[in-house]
């Protein structure tokens, strides 16, 4: 995974069955077909039968249409939609432990304040900071923290939802999930 480049990435949402091995099938499809992923986030939905996978894909590695259709072919993928980044509200969460000696602590706290982050842990010469926001804001914050010395850093990968005003025109959604009435045994 590398950083997404403007114009090259696209967001694909897949509603998948909450069954063993589904994530492996999705990830396996990407590696088998040579599709590149920038980030991938999985989370349960309000319906326990399903999970939502948000994938940021490199549309130069393969045409978006091909990626979406191959994914849709997986039996466990219930619904799929894709969204251009400009039509999406994207958010990402960052947790980072930054070196902050007593003399630098003030500067770090100040920057966290500017970015509306939260200091979640403080040690003698380090702090752990949480920051949520648009991916570009996270990138900026990460760059600003680098000079202090980033000891550990984790980003969640982006989650996204369509911007509401454009939903009707741009979200290519498949049949509504409510239509599903099968229940097995």
């Amino acid at each position: 995974m590398t950083a997404p480049m403007p114009g090259r990435h696209h967001i694909v949402f897949a509603l998948v069955e909450n069954k063993a091995g589904v994530l492996a099938r999705v990830a396996g499809l990407f590696s088998r077909r040579g599709f590149n992923i920038y980030s991938l986030a999985v989370a349960p939905t309000d319906d326990e039968r399903f999970s939502r996978i948000t994938i940021v894909v490199d549309v130069e590695s393969a045409p978006l249409e091909q990626i979406v259709r191959q994914l849709d072919k997986l039996v466990n993928v219930v619904e799929i939609a894709e969204l251009a980044p400009e039509d999406a509200t994207e958010r990402e969460l960052l947790l980072t432990t930054v070196r902050a000696t007593p003399t630098e602590r003030g500067q770090v706290i100040q920057l966290v304040g500017v970015f509306e982050g939260t200091i979640v842990d403080v040690g003698l010469d380090a702090m752990t900071i949480m920051l949520a926001g648009p991916p570009s804001k996270i990138d900026d914050f990460e760059a600003l923290m680098k000079p202090f010395g980033i000891m550990q850093l984790q980003r969640t990968g982006r989650v996204a939802l369509p911007k509401l005003v454009r939903r009707a025109t741009r979200l290519r959604a498949l049949p509504e999930i409510e239509q599903y009435e099968g229940g097995g045994v």
């Binding site: 396996g28 045409p63 091909q66 849709d72 039996v75 619904e79 599903y180 097995g184």
Partner: protein, 609 residues
């Protein structure tokens, strides 16, 4: 009704009208083998699990029904990985049941444990690991549905031993009780797209129907014939589609691709419209994609939407079952004024086989006046061009009297001495190409081969599976000596089960196709391709396996040997045809080259060196 998971599995297979299971037992699948003794389902005990998989494929190829194979865990399961990959490439519906170690032992590297659902995830259409005996009937019903609908393909159901021993309460789910919320195979095409396709058909001057394996899967041969005859569009049949359109039909161009005939290849190259029906622009058909059919508009019809535009951009994409879409297309053509099939404008009563392109007018069905069809371009010049190519560049070989036995001569003689609806199975390599080129396929589901995966050793077990599925038909395998050595042991199965398949080995003592490439592209530096004509002794080997063995060295011995083989119906027959090792498959488009660079024969281009 209470029963064990194992009993529920067999009962579920009975509910799916399974008539035969190809399999081999072992520890983890042991519980399931007990209720087989009480079942009406025939079990055929193979000698290697790969054989079970290919037999299931052969059965599916000729019957159109799913083939079923059952094997144990670990190596039993991994031995059937090749047939699964093969079936995935060729969209063959097979259902493979594997035993698994007990659920408590999964993940502990237990004896004969293999995570087969993980291994086969990418080469099955879908697979399941059952963790509750109560799920068995539902999962089996789902497995059959997924294998046989939409784009068919292989599925695998992994059944841990404790689950097959556990008690469950029997039920049989109806379709609405299946748990497949994400499975919606395409059925009919989008009417707007179909109408657009019909308009392109009526505007084309040099159209070609590019028929693929999807025609056979959709049982659309009759509809394809109606479409070709009504529109006068010539038809190429890919390696996977041989038999879907009769080779004896005047509009039949035969096989395109790397070893396709000149006319089929060139007609596609020069076409202005490719009507791709259930085909997928495989690299063996297109050659260099950028140079493939450069002037052609493309109408692409496939039941798998992911195939549309995957390789070649399509002007019209139609996701749907080939038969449904052809019927819709015929209706759309009617609406545009191209009425029902008028087989020839002259109204002569010659049969299709007697007439031929250029001699009669296939290009005009009854076009309604003032309709788009009435202003349709005349296809006669196109038909005349095609006929000229056919006459100028036929498939050819030269069987000299007293000379080395030519493999093509064997294929042609076999073709002429067997019933028209004989089922032919092939392995992979030169013999496969000669069989596809020189056989006349006039019936659907009579050609059984490994197209996409190119699995050597496919022929013998696939022929056995085919004979089990169609016992009333004559089944010949045309095999290579290299292929035969990979799976020949299944003839023991055939002898034991009285399955009288016939095997023609085109024995050129080489891995012939590799040898051909080394000759043409590696300056005749032959590396690891020589096999020896006598080792093994094929006649003795056949006899040791309970089959009749024969050996043929010369052209005049060919017919008598085939005649003798045709008369044997109580055991397998193997004929070792000693063929010319120097014979190469032509025409040939070198890998990665444009189809315009087709080499017609050994005296032309690189082949003449």
């Amino acid at each position: 009704m209470r029963m064990t998971g194992a009993q529920a599995l067999i009962k579920s297979l009975e509910m799916k009208d399974v008539e035969v299971i190809f399999g081999l037992p072992g520890g983890a699948i042991l519980p399931v083998y007990d209720p087989i003794l009480d079942s009406s389902i025939r079990h055929i005990l193979v000698r290697h699990e790969q054989g079970a998989g290919h037999m299931a494929e052969g059965y599916a190829h000729v019957t159109g029904r799913p083939g079923v194979a059952m094997v144990t865990s670990g190596p039993g399961a991994t031995n059937i990985v090749t047939p699964l990959a093969d079936a995935a490439m060729d969209s063959i519906p097979i259902v493979v049941i594997t035993g698994q170690v007990p659920t408590g032992a999964i993940g502990t590297d237990a004896f004969q444990e293999c995570p087969i659902t993980g291994v086969t995830m990418d080469i099955t259409k879908h697979n399941w690991l059952i963790t509750d005996a109560q799920d068995i009937p539902r999962v089996i019903a789902e497995a059959f549905k997924v294998a046989t609908t939409g784009r068919p393909g292989p599925v695998l159901v992994d059944l841990p031993k404790d689950i097959s021993n556990a008690q469950m309460e029997w039920y049989w789910p109806d379709d609405s009780e299946l748990d497949l919320p994400g499975y919606h195979p395409a059925t009919t095409g989008d009417p707007q797209a179909v109408l657009e396709a019909a308009r392109l058909v009526l505007a084309a001057r040099r159209p070609v129907i590019y028929a693929g394996g999807g025609i056979l899967k959709a049982r659309a041969s009759e509809e394809l014939k109606e479409l070709a005859e009504r529109t006068g569009i010539p038809v190429v049949t890919t390696l996977m589609a041989r038999g879907s359109f009769p080779d004896s039909h005047p509009l039949a161009l035969g096989m395109p691709g790397m070893h396709g005939n000149y006319t089929a290849v060139t007609a596609m190259q020069r076409s202005d419209l490719l009507l791709a029906l259930g085909s997928r622009f495989d690299d063996r058909v297109t050659g260099k994609v950028g140079a493939f059919a450069p002037d052609a508009k493309v109408v692409h019809v496939d039941v798998d939407p992911a195939e549309l535009g995957k390789v070649r951009r399509a002007d019209v994409q139609i996701a749907g079952d080939a038969r449904n879409v052809i019927v819709e297309l015929l209706e759309a053509l009617s609406s545009l004024g191209l009425g029902s099939s008028a087989r020839r404008a002259g109204g002569s009563s010659t049969t299709a086989a007697e007439s031929s392109l250029g001699r009669c007018d296939w290009s005009r069905a009854e076009a309604a006046p003032d309709s788009q069809a009435a202003s349709r371009p005349d296809l006669k010049p196109w038909h005349a061009q095609i006929r000229e190519w056919q006459e100028k560049f036929p498939l050819s070989y030269n069987q000299e009297e007293g000379g080395a036995l030519k493999p093509q001569f064997v294929v042609e003689t076999l073709r002429d001495m067997t019933p028209d609806d004989t089922i032919v199975a092939a392995g992979v390599g030169q013999h496969q190409m000669w069989a596809s080129q020189f056989w006349k396929f006039d019936y659907p589901n009579t050609w059984v081969n490994s197209g996409g995966a190119g699995t050597m050793g496919f022929a013998v077990p696939a022929a056995i599976g085919a004979k089990v599925g169609r016992p009333e038909k004559m089944v010949w395998a045309i095999d290579g000596d290299g292929c035969f050595q990979m799976t020949a042991q299944e003839l023991v199965t055939a002898s034991a089960e009285r399955i009288p398949v016939k095997i023609a080995i085109l024995n050129n003592a080489y891995l012939g196709m590799v040898r051909q490439w080394q000759e043409l592209f590696y300056e005749e530096r032959y590396s690891e391709v020589y096999l020896s004509p006598d080792l093994p002794d094929y006649v003795k080997w056949a006899e040791a396996m309970g089959a009749v063995g024969m050996r043929v060295d010369s052209a005049e011995e060919v017919a008598p040997a085939i005649e003798k083989a045709n008369g044997i119906d109580d055991r397998p027959v193997v004929i070792d045809f000693r063929t010319d090792a120097f014979e190469k498959v032509y025409p040939m488009v070198p890998a990665g080259a444009s189809n315009d660079d087709i080499i017609v024969g050994p005296t032309e281009g690189e082949g003449g060196r």
